[in-house]
């Protein structure tokens, strides 16, 4: 199977997986570009792991296609050339030592991978525990060994499914640093996670899947821009201020905040400046007028919880419902 020149590392189109009547993945489209650290987000049960398994050729799709550098993983392991990673927790033979597990992986990789065992053990800082049986490893050590096994393949594309799950705070920090380091070395990374802070810190692009369907795919900046900037306003007379805001041009989603004050969204900073003058003219003196950028968490919940209207989960990517974002951001 010949790789397609300049094909993106991952190209998924209309990916569907049914288990009887259960729809695990309902129609995922996503493209991971070279150099991306792509955050693949979704609530538990959204079908992230099933989609990842299909990307690695472990599960046969009911419909749709996956291409890794232009090659179909269902057609054979040649499509996994330059691709590595793990889905759910990485698993090894518990009765073998970590080194022997890596030797096994390297033997099944070929291409001189066994010469890299010490190197990858150093990367994940497990060299001094390499002679211990994996059955005696902690969860965090197994996660790191999973990364080591992936790095043996010298991947250009790394797929990691919840790599920080189950780790203590120090382990999570180390895992983030490791992923950052790998990404900085030019590796394309798909990072499936429900840890939004982790994705926000590491990823340049995100795909958000909800109920087996893609709710959004793009950069974090585009997502924030689509959601607009939220503002929080407190005045000496909020009742008057609310009326001013509602008739003021350029403001949207004006609402009374649960914690007091008023929230609204706008993409036009001049509208905010003019609002401050209008408020003074009405005798509602400004106590606080502050912008609040929506966090990924805000946007995520707005996409996955804020819009449950029938048909909204269609194949076309959704934009976050601004009011939901504004409420959360405020």
């Amino acid at each position: 199977m010949t790789p397609v020149v300049d094909a993106p590392p991952i190209e998924v189109r209309g990916l569907v997986k049914h288990y009887g009547d259960i729809v695990a993945v309902g129609g995922v489209d996503l493209t991971v570009l070279p150099g991306d650290v792509f955050g693949y987000l979704g609530p538990n049960g959204a079908g992230k792991t099933t989609a990842l398994r299909m990307m690695l050729g472990l599960i046969r799709p009911t419909a749709g296609s996956v291409r890794l550098f232009g090659r179909d993983p269902q057609a054979g392991v040649a499509a996994l050339q330059g691709v590595a990673g793990f889905v759910e927790a990485p698993r090894f033979y518990p009765y073998l030592t970590a080194r022997r597990n890596l030797e096994l992986c390297a033997a099944l990789d070929g291409d001189g991978a066994d010469a890299r065992i010490d190197e990858v053990l150093d990367v994940v800082e497990l060299r001094d525990r390499a002679k211990v049986r994996v059955g005696g490893y902690s969860h965090g050590m197994r996660q790191r060994l999973g990364i080591a096994a992936a790095l043996l393949r010298r991947p250009r594309l790394l797929l990691l499914d919840e790599p920080a799950t189950g780790l203590d705070p120090a382990g999570m920090r180390d895992m983030r640093l490791l992923v950052r380091r790998l990404a900085d070395s030019g590796m394309t990374v798909l990072l499936s996670s429900h840890l939004l802070a982790e994705v926000e810190e590491l990823c340049n692009r995100v795909g958000i899947v909800d109920h087996g369907l893609m709710a959004y795919e793009g950069t974090l900046e585009e997502l924030r821009r689509a959601a607009g900037i939220g503002y929080r306003l407190r005045t000496t007379h909020d009742d008057r201020a609310l009326a001013v805001c509602r008739r003021h041009p350029g403001l949207a989603d004006v609402a009374v905040a649960a914690a007091g004050g008023i929230v609204f969204r706008t993409a036009d900073e001049m509208a905010v400046a003019e609002l401050s003058r209008a408020l003074t003219d009405e005798g509602a003196l400004v106590l606080e007028l502050s912008p609040s950028h929506a966090t990924l968490e805000d946007l995520f919940f707005a996409l996955t919880e804020g819009d449950k209207a029938p048909g909204a989960n269609g194949a076309a990517p959704r934009t976050p419902r601004p009011a939901a974002v504004a409420e959360r951001a405020a």
Binding site: L56, R60, F86, F92, Y93, C105, L108, A149
Partner: protein, 272 residues
Amino acid sequence: MRPGILTVYRWELVKLRFQKRTYLGLGAAALAPTLFAVAVATSNGQPEDVALGRYIHDTGLAIPFVLLLFGSIWMFPLITALVAGDIVAAEDHNGTLKTILTRSVERGQVFAAKVLATATYAIAAIVLTGTVAVVAGSLVSGFDPLPTLSGTTISPGRGLVLLGGSLLVYLMPILAVAAIGLLFSTVFRNSAAAVVGTLMASLLLQLVGILPGLGGLRPYLLSTQFDAWQGLLRQPVDWAPVVRAAWVCALYAVPALGTALLVFLRRDVDGG
């Protein structure tokens, strides 16, 4: 360069080398003839109703042949099933199928390596039993000429050659049992269910052979083929049961392996 089947096979053997059940099976294969020899040394009795049973005090070479007869009921099927029923299911249990199937080997290569490793283990178990039985039997009853089933007597050297041939013939139903074990291991994805299922299938086939009115099926039962080696101990050699064992065993093994391969190639690896 991508690895070939031999590389995967070598690592399947490494896995077997580090698993307790391998030593449990091989230990039983060595222990049974040892215990049998001890029983022969400490008693005057002998199994009169089985081939060569009456000669176990006359020559140690009779002991491995008698063991083959007794072992076919459940011992060898169980020893075989211990590994055959586990070799795929253990990957499901450990969640390691996803680990090896995302490397640079095709599913077909992995399956072929598992078949070869299972066969290697079965051969090792049979050879071990035969070797220990000859050594232990010779120690308690001597290394003397062996009477054949035709009433003639052959030299100990010729007896050893016939024992080797008999073990080879005996291996055919053993490998068929292994194929059934592999099928169950692949389909059930549960080691205990596959091991017990394989043993139950073997015992059921024996039961069918002794049920009244089903005598016509007997030549085509897997259990019957465990006796095919007796053709080698006749003079002249009776090849008919050996030839029949070859194709009857293939009738059991080939569909079992073919089905297991198809399931393994097409299955979703969604656990672990």
